[in-house]
């Protein structure tokens, strides 16, 4: 028996998924919304970035389905541990803990220790790792061969899997358009399709190969090494994906209603309404954001330590802190969008179709809903996508100065923070930092590329042909 646990952020993430699905259904019927998305679908860079993003999102979503494993024995106290579906899938990564640091793909620990030999004598040497490379008799000789063999195995498996999936996908797509597999394949080779199939298949191919090789290696080694307490760094980096995504998306969701409502109201009604809203955000903007966040997080910490009984598990506690961080980041970041919307509404309300509706006696809120909001939606969308990567990076910076997410929570910021001191060690421990950077860099780069494409598609000024 397992007992599902729905954390606050989980609920909000799935609400967001529902909203996006709803918006997609709505946009399907509206030509002006559908057209730019079709343009995005035609862009090679956009679709490549989207494949990378969707891998991240898939991991993030899997990591958001939480449950509490029931312990078999009766009478034992319930474990406070909450696991996610993703944890279950990568159990080997999660449970195979070493004692302390070990380098990527190493078979021996990173630091020397006193080892008691079979004959009882003590030797100071690098001990063998408990899990990594445990299957090797003589690591010094067999190691390289084993690694190469595992890589080759992963590549072959990945290639087969990718070919199968691609063939199935092409077959399905050919069936849908009432063509034969051969025709579709030829069209893809000639790049004669609306979707950029080549880039889609190429990106997913690269990702599949990387994924399979990584999986093969991780089954027998620690692909990215282990950290101070012997936890697998790859596992940490993967778990951090959810944190990054939550910060990037929920923050904007928190700030969105306020920004849209206040921005449009300020621009539309002007006068004292505008003054009040403008002064509010100018004031808010002039408070240093980091200070505000630090103050709020500290207050939250004090509240938590005073009311420990309210939190049944560590995960829950960390989750609430994450949500709080999203909210406080949202509060400090809505002003930019609000200002943009105010300016655009200023311009729109002077446009003649708004004047014409006024002359018909149409009510103000109807005008806002019918004429203003649909015409500023592209700005909202562009801002959301552009903000995303900034927020992911902000999380890393905040965690680095210890006012970010809970220290027990996996996040790239925490990983960097943890690795900070080890940079001074000789020999240097570089893998935690590198892993966090590579994962974050990939996500932010993909998001940035995608947002460029989104902006180009939605920005009316950049549209050359109608």
């Amino acid at each position: 028996m397992i007992e599902p646990v729905i954390l606050w952020t989980d609920a909000l993430i799935f609400l967001l998924v529902l909203l996006i699905a709803g918006f997609a259904l709505y946009a399907r019927r509206k030509e002006h919304l559908r057209a730019p998305w079709q343009e995005i679908a035609r862009s090679r860079v956009g679709m490549g970035a989207l494949v990378v993003l969707s891998v991240y999102v898939a991991i993030g979503l899997l990591d958001s389905l939480h449950y509490r494993p029931q312990v078999a024995q009766e009478g034992q106290a319930e474990t406070a541990e909450v696991l996610s579906l993703f944890d279950k899938l990568v159990t080997p990564l999660r449970v195979r803990q070493e004692k302390t640091y070990s380098a990527p793909l190493a078979t021996h620990q990173y630091a020397k220790e006193n080892i008691e030999l079979a004959d009882g004598s003590m030797v100071r040497d690098y001990p063998r790792l408990k899990h990594a490379g445990a299957h090797l008799e003589n690591p010094q000789e067999e190691w390289l061969q084993d690694i190469l063999w595992l890589i080759a195995k992963g590549l072959v498996e990945g290639l087969i899997f990718w070919l199968l999936c691609s063939a199935l996908l092409i077959y399905w797509s050919a069936r849908r358009s009432d063509g034969s597999f051969r025709q579709k394949f030829a069209a893809i080779r000639r790049s004669d399709t609306t979707l950029p199939w080549k880039s889609l298949l190429f990106t997913s191919g690269v990702l599949t190969l990387v994924g399979f090789v990584a999986a093969e290696l991780s089954l027998h080694y620690h692909l990215l090494g282990t950290d101070k307490v012997g936890e697998d760094v790859l596992y940490q980096a993967l778990k951090s994906i959810r944190t990054g995504l939550v910060i990037g998306t929920l923050t904007t969701m928190v700030m969105l209603p306020a920004a849209i409502l206040l921005g449009i109201m300020a621009g539309y009604f002007r006068g004292w309404v505008d003054d009040v809203i403008q002064y509010t955000y100018t004031t808010l903007n002039s408070i240093p954001g980091v200070l505000l966040i630090a103050a709020a997080i500290l207050m939250m910490q004090i509240y938590m330590s005073n009311h420990e009984e309210e939190f049944t598990s560590l995960t829950q506690r960390a989750d609430l802190r994450l949500l709080f961080l999203c909210m406080i980041l949202g509060v400090t970041s809505w002003t930019g969008l609000c200002r943009l919307l105010r300016g655009e509404t200023f311009k729109l309300r002077e446009l003649e179709y708004v004047q014409a509706s006024l002359a018909f006696g149409v009510g103000h809120f109807k005008i806002i809903g019918r004429h203003i909001l649909p015409n500023v939606l592209h700005i909202v969308l562009i801002t959301l996508v552009l903000d995303f990567s900034g927020l992911v990076l902000a999380e890393a910076v905040l965690s680095y100065v210890n006012i970010g997410v809970d220290p027990t929570m996996n996040s790239w910021g925490n990983m960097i923070n943890g690795a900070r001191l080890e940079m001074a060690r000789e020999p240097i421990v570089w893998w935690s930092l590198a892993a966090a950077l590579v994962f974050m860099f990939t996500l932010v780069l993909a998001a940035n590329l995608f947002s460029d494409v989104v902006r180009d598609a939605f920005d009316p000024r950049l549209r050359t042909t109608r």
Binding site: E352, A359, F360, G361, V362, P374
Partner: protein
């Protein structure tokens, strides 16, 4: 004649995709001689500007010249390197653009901008540059050039900026000046100044001018020869006097007939049906075929060749036969509008002493430091079924009057009575209900419809707001309205961007009619449209007035439209009406010096017409700080001491013509 200065042969310019190009210029031949003004005439989108840009080799990145020769004073421009071309551009060949506001760099002083051009082409240094700059500014008639050279573009008015642009173009002592719609963005009195300047400069320096325009009046006044362009080709060339006696190509004729004027008051204007064909296709017949009323079988099968009629005139038409210019419209009895107008005594709308002042805020506490008196005491009456035209230059407050009457802007003072109801005091539901009786049509048909809404929803919006009928009734009415304005019913299910400018303006008319208004305020409804399309809209408005007994307040700066459409006219200057009365009397015997100047500045499409343009000096003062006394006295050629002292009272002349001018109150 000797060798032409500029000779273009078989120029072909394409835009966009190489496989599927837009042939914006398709086989153009042209010759311009030294010292002449050559006008390139045509509607928007027929390739006039692209021709000019091809000559300057300044085409947009997607454009290219695929064939042809451009010979300019002995060199073929298309074979020059980019470096050599730069010497030609701005040196031997200058160009001025339509929009003076965006052609100058706002962060550089005027003098510096001109000096840049001077340095490039004259290789002068130090004080000699300054001297040359001042010389240039002086030559384009800018008073006090020393001070002006140190000012920034925003400190100059539109007309001044265009003069500066001309000065920059003159810096390289060009042999050919290309003027791309140089006065379209300017008011009519300023336009007269600029055209005059161009003429003087040409006389003094002997340069040739290529004038690109859509205005037949400007052509008649300034050009020596002209070419009519249609769909990327020249369809007729001629010298101006021959052309205005009898254009040969059906398109040129139609352009003439569609011009509104007072002689055509009781008839429909000729329209050119349809619109310019897509230039993506390969033509197998005449390009004008679909829109031509005289086309025969041959026209669809044969591409018309160029035909040189005599030394001065040529035409590209298979049916060029030199029959006299007969207008079909005049012979066709069905197209005349017999107007039986009942003159009702009580006005539908009467506006008394309407004022709209906008406060000017300054400082942190946003204290009011003054007012922009956009409208400063306006009296108007519009009887039922009549058209009152409100005429004036831009910035005189015409549009503000319209918006204040509709209560889209709160008037500061004064009253506006509509059927006895005081509009300024209506609030909430009562005002909302009254809104159905008054509607507005805007200038720009692009921005007056929400691009995200279907045409059907746009038209039905007013009915929904006024709660008129059920949904099916509204849908039925939308269809009926679309037919009424000459569109098909399918239009309701499409988006505004799928329509051309004229069609969009029809949709706007339909939207206004949807709530069955009694008064429609037309705010320059045709000034963004081509002449032939303007004729369609004017016809439509006239028909609708006839059918539905509508009243119009027609806000415009176009005098020929006024003379065609209006019953009464009010001339506005700086927030006040200076003269009003019946159209015939005001236009034929204007009493106020401003009206006289305004009317004399309008170019007339008749080269033999001799007129003395009353040149107004300077520009309209700011309404934030109007001159003391009569607002017009700083620019008035007949101003006296009295005019500087006090604002003149309104004087009643004969036949209901009222004027506010001391010249006409002396006798009383």
């Amino acid at each position: 004649m000797t060798d032409p200065l500029l000779k273009i042969e078989n120029l072909q310019t394409q835009l966009g995709d190489e496989q599927d190009p837009v042939r914006v210029v398709d086989g153009l031949d042209l010759a311009i001689h030294r010292g002449e003004t050559f006008a390139l005439l045509g509607e928007s989108g027929c390739g006039k500007s692209m021709t000019a840009l091809s000559m300057m080799r300044l085409l947009p990145p997607s454009g290219r010249v695929v064939e042809g020769d451009i010979e300019f004073g002995g060199t073929d421009l298309l074979w020059l390197s980019e470096q050599e071309m730069r010497q030609v551009r701005g040196g031997r060949m200058g160009m001025i653009f339509q929009e003076p506001m965006t052609s100058l760099n706002p962060v550089l002083k005027i003098g510096d901008q001109i000096a840049e051009a001077v340095r490039l082409h004259d290789r002068l240094r130090g004080s000699r540059v300054t001297k040359r700059v001042l010389e240039l500014l002086d030559s384009v008639g800018i008073p006090d050039p020393v001070r002006r050279a140190r000012e920034y573009p925003h400190q100059l008015s539109g007309g001044m900026k265009q003069r500066v642009m001309i000065a920059m173009a003159l810096a390289g002592r060009p042999e050919l000046l290309i003027a791309d719609e140089p006065t379209t963005a300017l008011d009519v009195t300023i336009q007269a100044q600029v055209l005059n300047l161009l003429k003087d400069l040409q006389r003094d320096s002997g340069m040739a001018v290529l004038l690109i325009t859509h205005d037949l009046g400007i052509v008649a006044e300034t050009a020596d020869r002209l070419a009519v362009m249609y769909a990327g080709q020249i369809v007729e060339t001629s010298d101006v006097s021959t052309f205005f006696q009898g254009p040969k190509h059906p398109y040129s004729r139609k352009l003439f007939e569609s011009l509104p004027d007072s002689n055509k008051r009781d008839e429909k204007l000729a329209v050119i049906k349809g619109f310019v064909p897509s230039l993506k296709q390969q033509f197998t017949g005449c390009r004008f075929l679909q829109r031509c009323e005289e086309s025969g079988d041959r026209c669809s099968r044969e591409v018309p060749e160029w035909r040189q009629l005599n030394r001065r005139q040529g035409v590209r038409c298979l049916l060029y036969a030199e029959k006299p210019l007969v207008s079909k419209a005049k012979q066709d009895p069905q197209t005349t509008l017999h107007r039986t107008r009942k003159t009702s005594a009580d006005p539908l709308l009467s506006v008394i002493d309407l004022k709209v002042h906008f406060p000017i805020h300054k400082g942190v506490l946003r204290r009011v430091v003054g007012h922009v008196r956009a409208v400063d005491g306006v009296d108007l009456q519009i009887p039922k079924g009549h058209t009152l035209a409100l005429v004036g230059e831009s910035g005189c407050g015409k549009t503000t009057v319209g918006k204040a009457i509709l209560q889209l802007l709160k008037p500061t003072a004064g009253s506006a009575r509509f059927e006895g109801d005081e509009l300024t005091r209506l609030r909430g539901a009562a005002l909302r209900k009254r809104r159905a009786d008054m509607q507005i049509i805007f200038q720009d048909p692009m921005s007056s419809m929400n691009p995200r809404m279907l045409v059907g929803d746009i038209i039905a919006e007013g009915m929904q707001a006024q709660k008129m009928g059920t949904k099916p009734q509204q849908a039925w009415r939308v269809n009926q309205l679309l037919q009424q304005v000459g569109l098909s019913e399918e239009a309701a299910g499409r988006y505004p961007h799928e329509f051309s400018g004229g069609q969009r303006q029809r949709i706007c008319v339909a939207r206004a009619l949807a709530v069955q208004p009694k008064l429609i305020i037309c705010d320059e409804p045709t000034s963004a449209l081509d002449v032939s399309v303007q004729a369609q809209i004017l016809n439509l408005l006239k028909e609708l007035q006839h059918e539905l007994d509508l009243s119009y307040l027609f806000i415009t700066h176009n005098i020929s439209v006024v003379s065609y459409l209006a019953d009464e006219v009010a001339v506005m200057y700086l927030g006040r009406i200076v003269e009003q009365g019946r159209v015939e009397s005001v236009l034929n015997s204007p009493a106020h010096p401003y009206t006289q100047a305004l009317l004399s500045a309008v170019p007339v499409p008749d080269p033999d017409h001799q007129r003395d343009v009353i040149r107004l000096e300077g520009d309209m003062p700011s309404p934030a700080n109007p001159p003391t006394g009569c607002h017009f006295h700083p620019r008035c050629p007949q101003a006296s001491e009295q005019c500087r002292q006090a604002y003149p009272p309104q004087a009643e002349l004969s036949r209901g013509q009222r004027v506010s001018c001391w010249l006409h109150t002396v006798g009383q």
